[in-house]
């Protein structure tokens, strides 16, 4: 069993190393990378199926019993995150064939892309705080490389801000880990739950909670720590932005959910209030920042921030329904947001720019692309019967149940402003006439590029629509996930009682 749980990160590491070694033979590197993405999706689907059938899967690395060795654990939350990572990995992997130029491929794009997936998957399967730090670093170094690969002046400018602020997050996390170890003598997440509970509500526990909110908050782009994101997400090629937007910030949110449900006790008032205020301000500042932008990708980048607020809000309310809402929203958002960025790349290819003032006429050139954007954008804004509607419904219901009317109000206002930004893009890029010459038709791109650009978007839109018209299975799953998160006894039993096999 053990090696199967390690596959989600072993596979991309292996295909990443091979693809990097073969980077000068771009055809071979592409083949290896695509094969890696395909296998990753299969493995994650298999893990997802077995976890939803039989509960948490646990493996002790090197046969050291927990809490002494490194434990790999996949519970429902990890399983669905892995599955959606596999999906996004494959979609972006295919899109990158059309989007990434030969020069960047020769510099090793495929290798770094796989390494990034390895870091993301590793963060989801690990059950050890220090190991989580190591996976964060794997993810970080791969994202550094992807961001500045190609070395254009804009990329260096955005890259330096991304690197500078993310390194601070790393150091905060490292310090927090040192202090956690000094306080409890353990770093296994399940064991930490027991050790921190034994501490009671002390100053030290609150300080650690705030340090970790700082560390993961920078990763997740939480207000007021998000400034690296709008400075850097629009500088690399679109395929890179898409995978960053889909996965990187969500790993930060995952780490927040994991630590605040498993490690810290449920009655940590101060930290939960801090998260609640930060979440509301994140939602508002993100969506207002987007309203002021007139560049396709920068609008989407600010919306990433706004939607991180929704996810953290679900955690901060800390009720079963709110957490279920956060899980549903996370899955919906990863799929819709990645897709919107992929579409923005295709629109740029057809109309020639990301600046809304300089483009237009995409609806006339390709009704298919327009429809894909329409579905993804209105799902993001929360229109029934698309996936975003159910996600938002769960969160609004959860806040009304708690009688937090102002929270519900902020949720709805943010939704309305999201709709404003999406209709701005629709009107400018798709509806109005192209200011010069008109947009290229999809067919003009040539057959392979056309397929490589449209198929991933189509796949992700189908997932969005399926989640929208038939949400019941995912809502049930999200509710089960929330129950599992709020009653961590099963997780802890699974980790600590399992003898090495």
């Amino acid at each position: 069993m053990g090696w199967l749980l390690a596959l989600p990160f072993l596979l991309p590491i292996a295909s990443g190393l091979l693809a990097f070694a073969a980077r000068r033979n771009t055809g071979l590197a592409r083949g290896i990378s695509l094969l890696g993405c395909g296998l990753l999706l299969l493995v994650t689907a298999w893990i997802f199926a077995s976890v939803s059938r039989q509960g948490p899967l646990v493996a002790q690395m090197g046969n050291w019993p927990a809490p002494f060795g490194i434990t790999l654990v996949v519970d429902r939350l990890s399983a669905i995150m892995l599955l959606v990572t596999g999906l996004v990995g494959l979609a972006v992997g295919v899109f990158a064939l059309a989007d990434i130029d030969r020069r960047r491929e020769r510099l090793g794009f495929q290798g770094f892309f796989q390494l990034l997936l390895a870091g993301v998957c590793g963060s989801f399967v690990t059950g050890d705080l220090f190991n989580l730090y190591v996976w964060f670093e794997v993810m970080l170094i791969a994202s550094f490389a992807l961001l500045v690969l190609g070395g254009e002046r804009q990329q260096v400018d955005g890259g330096i801000k991304y690197v500078a602020l993310n390194l601070v997050s790393t150091l905060l996390m490292l310090t927090a880990i040192g202090l956690v170890y000094g306080l409890t003598g353990t770093l296994n997440l399940a064991d930490l739950h027991l050790a921190i509970a034994a501490q009671g509500e002390s100053v030290a526990v609150n300080a650690l909670a705030v340090l970790l909110i700082g560390a993961f908050g920078i990763k997740a782009a939480l207000f007021p720590l998000f400034f690296w994101l709008p400075a850097s997400y629009h500088v690399p090629p679109v395929a890179v932005t898409a995978v960053f937007a889909g996965l990187l910030t969500k790993v930060g949110v995952y780490a927040l959910i994991r630590t605040f449900t498993l490690v810290f006790p449920a009655d940590l008032e101060f930290a939960h209030n801090l998260l609640l205020v930060a979440a509301l301000l994140t939602m508002l500042t993100g969506v207002l920042g987007a309203a002021a932008q007139y560049e396709f990708r920068r609008i989407l980048a600010f919306h990433i921030i706004s939607q991180i607020g929704f996810l953290v809000l679900g955690l901060a309310l800390f009720t079963p329904l709110a957490l279920a809402g956060a899980v549903f929203y996370m899955i919906h958002n990863i799929v819709a947001k990645t897709n919107l960025l992929l579409i923005s790349g295709t629109v740029r290819r057809m109309a020639g720019s990301f600046e809304l003032a300089q483009i237009g006429g995409v609806y006339r050139a390709s009704p298919l692309m327009a429809t894909l954007f329409f579905i993804a954008a209105f799902s993001l804004a929360g229109f029934p019967p698309l996936s975003g509607f159910w996600a938002k419904l769960l969160l609004v219901t959860a806040s009304l149940e708690e009688a937090s009317y102002w929270v519900a109000a902020v949720l709805l206002v943010t939704g309305a402003l999201t709709l404003f930004s999406m209709s701005k893009i629709w009107a400018e890029a798709f509806w109005k006439e192209h200011p010069g010459g008109g947009a290229l038709a999809l067919a003009a791109l040539g057959r392979p590029e056309q397929w490589q650009r449209v198929v991933p978007s189509l796949l992700l839109v189908l997932v969005t629509v399926a989640m929208g018209i038939y949400p019941e299975p995912l809502i049930t799953f999200a509710r089960d996930t929330a129950d599992e998160l709020l009653n961590p006894a099963g997780y802890i039993d699974a980790v600590l009682s399992q003898s090495p096999d």
């Binding site: 002046r153 804009q154 490292l174 002021a292």
Partner: protein
């Protein structure tokens, strides 16, 4: 000994943060290096300090007979040093490339990716 280390970590953190407040990127990088080493020392101190007793188990015993140095934080610091070295080397290379391409290390004047006129929020 713990007190001395705590003071040292505090001093290094303070110096690091002070350097990071400067607009010059090279100073920022030096601040990061100090901060990263302060974090490593903090982990080291968190593992409790014992003098001159290496964590070796004599033959025939399952556990060491006397309290020994804690090997786990040292392993963690070693990992953190290696990772930190890689990250900081990358950052230094990026700063050099930044200087070559943008002609400045002053973060206030680096507005290429976010031109002041384009974004309404500034």
């Amino acid at each position: 000994m713990e007190t001395a280390l705590a003071v040292l970590v505090g001093a290094m953190t303070a110096t690091g943060v002070y350097l990071m407040l400067a607009p010059n990127l090279l100073r920022y990088l030096f601040g990061l290096i100090l901060l990263s080493n302060a974090a490593n020392l903090a982990i080291f101190a968190a593992g409790r300090l014992t003098r001159a007793v290496p964590p070796l188990v004599p033959e025939g015993l399952d556990v060491p007979p006397v309290p020994v140095a804690n090997a786990l934080p040292q392993a963690m610091i070693l990992t953190a040093i290696v990772i930190g070295f890689g990250l900081l080397a990358f950052t230094l290379a990026l700063v050099v490339s930044c200087y070559r391409q943008l002609g400045t290390l002053n973060s206030d004047t680096m507005r290429l990716a976010e031109p002041p006129a384009a974004g309404g929020e500034h």
